[in-house]
Symmetry: C2
Subunit: 113 residues, 2 copies
Amino acid sequence: MVNHYEDNLNDIFHALADSTRREMVQMMAERERTVSELAEPFDMSLAGISKHLKVLERANLVERSINGRTHICRLNTESLSQATKWLQFYERFWNNRFDLLESELMKAKKNEN
Amino acid sequence: MVNHYEDNLNDIFHALADSTRREMVQMMAERERTVSELAEPFDMSLAGISKHLKVLERANLVERSINGRTHICRLNTESLSQATKWLQFYERFWNNRFDLLESELMKAKKNEN
DNA sequence: TTTATATTTAACTAAATGGTTGAATATAAA
DNA sequence: TTTATATTCAACCATTTAGTTAAATATAAA
């Protein structure tokens, strides 16, 4: 059994583990962007940006539509919320743990009196 | 200016971009674990697990206390919620976009009549 | 039809990653 | 004091990554 869900999470987290790519995501969060727009803020070759874009696409974080000679890139919510869901699931555990700790502390405090 | 926040996000997302490490996180979410406990489900050398653990520690996702010859590993909420916050911030943008789209569709529907 | 623009592809490189094995360290148990 | 257990460290290896430059492709503009 191949686990596509796991593969996808690998790709998503990997894609987000790079400052340049996260900045690109930020830019696309504001609005759609062409490849050269995405490249503009960075001191990096267009080929370099093109590669980063591919990593984001592999993770399904970005979709592209080709309009003449310019490519228009936009974010895809689906993958992002997959990652968020994973994180939030485990945060819940911690928060429960903390709630537990807190209630223990409250008990302890009561017994002080 | 060095950006520690960005570095940290790189480390966190990188740490989470590996199935083995995510499973280790899951285990520690349930309760504290020793290194050998963490290693048990995997078909991998202890040295391998030890390295994965280091990656999680570098990301501040895990803290370790040494108790005799066994090391006890537990999760650190802080880093996880840093990642969650980053993700949620950008999800907000998308959701706003979707709300906008939705209201446009409503308008269009009205004009149909 | 020629030239300029937008982008990708290919080939290359240095560094990082994910794994291994074998030896080292430190502590606990016999 | 010897032996067993828990863990890390060091050295190594194959693969992936993040970047480069130069050439290729495709479209738009002169």
